[in-house]
């Protein structure tokens, strides 16, 4: 990674607070900076605001206070540069669609108007499937694929958008250990070209892969992976909200 990349912030969050209409605050006074080329993991207990933070970053939600900048732009403007992979549990498993059709959806954009996908779209989708080693399953129904294959298809759909950053929400949910390991190895390889932000509740496993850990539990703390110990983790998950040291960013 070149030195310039290391210092360019791709995400800047300043004094951000968020609450749903009239509800209690989900996130309070969050400050966060993620630099280009990082492999960051967003962790925290369920209901702690992980997905909310992600949705604020891509502009699906609007902050109650504070601001979010992505690539120095507003989240909505920066969206086309983000490859987003949602939790696959959100989709109807019986939807009649083949793997390649799912990847093609990544080629849609505001510029498209009328008619079907072009040859260039189809070629790009096939390339993206090859990148996740699934070139042979393009014609198979999405619903027939294994959990691990589906996650790779959704990753290919995010990659076909030609993103500068990947944002993955619980990509390993429901996968077995071996499949999960393969998936993270693939991400590690992609991290050579892309900034990756990964939401997970499975902290133990990602620790070996990621450089930065962002803890979300109402407040947000950032740790370099190397400083994360049992005490910090119990503070995150113990329900008690206390500030964890987050002034440090160690070199790797």
């Amino acid at each position: 990674m070149n030195p310039e990349q290391q210092t360019t912030p791709v995400i800047e969050v300043e004094n951000l607070s968020f609450r749903f209409d009239g509800g209690p605050p989900v996130l309070e006074d969050v400050n966060l900076e993620i630099i280009a080329g990082d492999f960051a993991s967003v962790i925290g207990p369920n209901g702690g605001g992980k997905t909310t933070l992600v949705k604020l970053i891509v502009g699906l939600l609007t902050p109650t206070a504070g601001k979010v900048r992505v690539f120095g732009q507003s989240p909505v403007k920066a969206r086309p540069r983000i490859g987003y992979m949602p939790q696959h549990a959100m989709m109807d498993p019986r939807f009649p669609v083949r793997a390649i059709d799912v990847v093609l959806m990544g080629r849609l954009g505001s510029g498209r108007r009328f008619g079907s996908y072009s040859r260039a779209d189809r070629e790009a989708a096939a390339d993206a499937l090859a990148k996740v080693s699934l070139e042979t399953v393009g014609a198979r129904p999405f619903s027939d694929l294994s959990g691990g294959q589906r996650q790779r298809v959704l990753l290919a759909r995010a990659l076909v958008t030609d993103p500068e950053m990947l944002l993955l929400d619980e990509p390993a949910a429901g996968l077995d250990q071996k499949v999960e390991q393969d998936f993270f190895e693939l991400l590690q390889e992609l991290n050579r070209q892309l900034t990756i932000i990964l939401v997970t509740h499975d902290l133990g496993f990602v620790a070996g892969f990621v450089r930065t850990v962002i803890c979300v539990h109402g407040h947000v703390d950032i740790h370099p992976t190397s400083t994360l110990d049992g005490r910090a983790i119990s503070e995150i998950y113990g329900g008690e909200v206390r500030m964890v040291r987050h002034d440090h960013r160690m070199d790797h």
Partner: protein, 281 residues
Amino acid sequence: MEFFNAVLEFEFLQHALVAGALAGIACGVVGSYVVVRRITYIAGAIAHCVLAGLGIGRWLQVVHGWPVTPAQGAVVAAVAAALVIGIVSLRVREREDTIIGAVWAIGMAIGILFIAVTPGYHEDLMSYLFGNILLIGSGDLWIMAALDALVLVLALGLYPQLEAVCFDEEFARLRGLNVEAYVLVLLVLTALTVVLLVSVVGIVLVIALLTLPAAIAGHFTTTLRGMMALASLLAIAFTTGGLAVSYAPDLPAGATTIVIAGAAYLLVLVLRRIIAGMRSR
């Protein structure tokens, strides 16, 4: 056989067959969207609002002498209902089922009131509710063909966007698609298809014809496109079958069509169960 000879002899049966085919094509295409996006009940509410349009249209025509027809009233009411449900549910998501139920019943009630205050044959009410495909004239066919063409051009021309919005709305939004606009387009397409189907099977039975062919097709196809093609063929087969079976014993064609479609769906479910059971043994 009797039916076959009758088709050659009677123009009204030829019209009915063409009407069934025209409605069947739109039904298969839009019905597939309705099934995968799970908006069957929105389609039901829109269908019941058609009664308001038919009632108001005929009231204006008969009582006030306006140059409108019940069919035009039906199109306006269906599209208006689609837009109301769409806009309100996009704004206040959590109340969607309440809105659907309210629009469903209010549409129906308005229709009944206007039919009651309009002098004339109240048997019309029965044909609105349960359809009378045998009353379709050649002028109606041209209107149906135009509606059909409009529905197909939009539903197929916007296929990539509509497919993406139905599959994963959030991702579509992040790709920069105007999801709200596409949802409204889909609801308007549903409304126009409902109007086409009302003349074939009537308001009460529309949901079944809209969803059963697509539900059956979903068991045999791996793409939304394939589901649409097969569902269209099935819908045409059901309307044709409904006419053929009902003709000799003089049964209502709309109800016969729906019973055939329902029987086919049940048969598919049972056969799949048996096949799955045999495989697992």
